[in-house]
């Protein structure tokens, strides 16, 4: 059938001669893949960095050359103590994600599903999420000391709101016509919930988790830079006090990579688990 919508250009059976002399096959190749753009962006960043140091715009004492930083990063990557601290950071991140999702998702689904709860709760949510988690740093230190618990509690506070809100909105935005469709097939409340409401809300929940994942990493690292006793952040502060900017930047670079890996990981999982969210966004519905 000719009316199937395909995302890639359909190849004609007979290649048309190319007037400009450019091989047709090359022009028919699909759009540039995302990773190519990503690499170009990173390459540009390194070139600018190199230029900034070489021209003396920033002195090499405060910003080392990219090549030196890369070497240090390589050393850190095989350094067992550094890797242990990375594991500490990731552990705090994971605990925060698990705890916040375990509470935020079911609560968000419930608040979104029952209209009686929705309005009163959304005002609380909007108030809660406008307070930055750093406001609670002193209290968290008093309550939990400088260990993992403190980092995790701050991160949970920061990511609880996006997770909760996205679950609430996901449920609220369930298409009424899809519910009517289910009801016309004789489905009761439970079936409507599992067969319509949850799958409808899933892409939104996934978005909430993706946002939360970056935020959680940022909060955990900030807590580490501001005084926690374990994690990548503390390594960076230690090198800073030892006046080793090359290691400081190497650490920052690796943290950046970690954040990027988490982001792309989440994107990938999202595309595999809830492909319909993506597809609907793309078709502009």
């Amino acid at each position: 059938m000719s009316d199937v919508r395909v995302s890639h250009p359909v190849k004609a059976d007979v290649p048309a001669p190319s007037p400009s002399g450019v091989p047709t096959a090359a022009r028919r190749r699909g759009p540039t893949p995302d990773w190519a753009y990503g690499l170009a962006g990173i390459a540009t960043m390194f070139v600018v960095w190199e230029l900034v140091v070489r021209t003396g715009a920033v002195s090499a004492d405060s910003l080392p050359y990219p090549a030196a930083t890369m070497r240090r990063a390589g050393e850190l990557l095989v350094d067992a103590t550094f890797l242990t601290e990375v594991a500490q950071t990731l552990w705090a991140w994971l605990l925060a994600m698990l705890a916040a999702s375990a509470v935020g998702i079911p609560l968000g689904l419930t608040l979104g599903y029952f209209s009686a709860f929705y309005r009163p709760s959304s005002s609380v949510v909007h108030a809660g999420r406008s307070i930055p988690s750093s406001a609670f740093l002193p209290i968290a230190i008093l309550l939990f000391g400088l260990g993992t618990q403190m980092k995790v509690s701050l991160a949970i506070y920061a990511i609880f709101w996006p997770i909760l809100l996205n679950a609430m909105y996901g449920v609220r935005d369930t298409e009424p016509l899809m519910l009517a469709t289910g009801r016309s097939m004789g489905w009761g409340r439970t079936r409507l919930l599992t067969r319509v409401v949850l799958p409808s809300a899933a892409p939104s929940i996934a978005t909430g988790l993706r946002v939360a994942s970056s935020t959680a990493l940022i909060v955990v690292l900030s807590a580490e830079l501001l005084g926690a006793t374990s994690g990548v952040g503390t390594v960076i502060t230690t090198y800073q006090q030892a006046q080793r900017p090359d290691f400081v930047y190497a650490g920052i670079l690796l943290v950046g990579l970690l954040g990027m890996a988490l982001y792309y990981g989440f994107n990938l999982v999202e595309r595999l688990v809830v492909p319909w969210g993506q597809a609907q966004r793309e078709s502009g519905r």
């Binding site: 059938m1 009316d3 199937v4 919508r5 395909v6 298409e175 016509l177 899809m178 009517a180 469709t181 009801r183 016309s184 097939m185 004789g186 079936r191 319509v196 799958p199 899933a202 809830v274 492909p275 319909w276 597809a279 609907q280 078709s283 519905r285």
Partner: protein
Amino acid sequence: MNPVTIQPHQPGPGTDTPMLAVQELGKSYPSRKGDVLAVRSIDFAVHAGQFVSVVGPSGCGKTTLMMCIAGLLPITTGNVMFRGERMSGPRDGVAVVFQDYSRSLFPWLTVEKNVALPLRDRGLPRTEIRDRVRESLEMVGLAHAAALHPWQLSGGMQQRVAIARGLAVRPEMLIMDEPFASVDAQTRASLEDLLLKVWAETGTTVLFVTHDIDEAVYLSDRVVVLSQGPSVVVEDLPVELDRPRDQIATKQTALFGELRENVYSLVMASQRRTSLSGDPH
């Protein structure tokens, strides 16, 4: 009663008990400024195997009426009787194809699974479900698209999936709300003919809602004309055009022209009446 060419596969209990009887149906929506009347009072009946269209101007309450008849909206006044029994909610044997098909298909399911949905929970063996899904997809010419997701299809194809889903349960009655309103003219014509073919093959009773007068006359055994909202029935018109119908030949007949003009002037007159007398509510 005009001759029905297709014998119903499940004849009603008595020959004079209609499959569907809508009695003084009225519906108002609650709103902050008091209730808004969408449907004033509708009366009509559909006999088994018939193809009946409901036409009316946009906003006159067709979707509301259809949702009430399908048991998806509580009715305010009157009754909907199905085979002589009062209907109080959605029921087996009645399938609905909605106006906005793109939002009534589930994007997380493949075409095949969307069509299989109404067959679940019925204790049917897996093979039976598979066969029926295949059969209904074949009827609408979409067997090849079974494994695709709705978003990978064109609008016309999505509408055919929605129709296939309606057919999969082998419904006694198929209620369709402006199913072809948002597809282009050619697709529309071919979907109309497809629907007539499927109707002839299955013997399903069809209640077809549309604002398109030509479409209503072309498809139906009877056309129920509604006034502007809050709607009442202006006329219940038999359409005694020969079947099978043909997009060109049927539409060129004198009778088709006459019926079309008749329905058109009824709709216009009802609009004039309501606009001259203001809002009588």
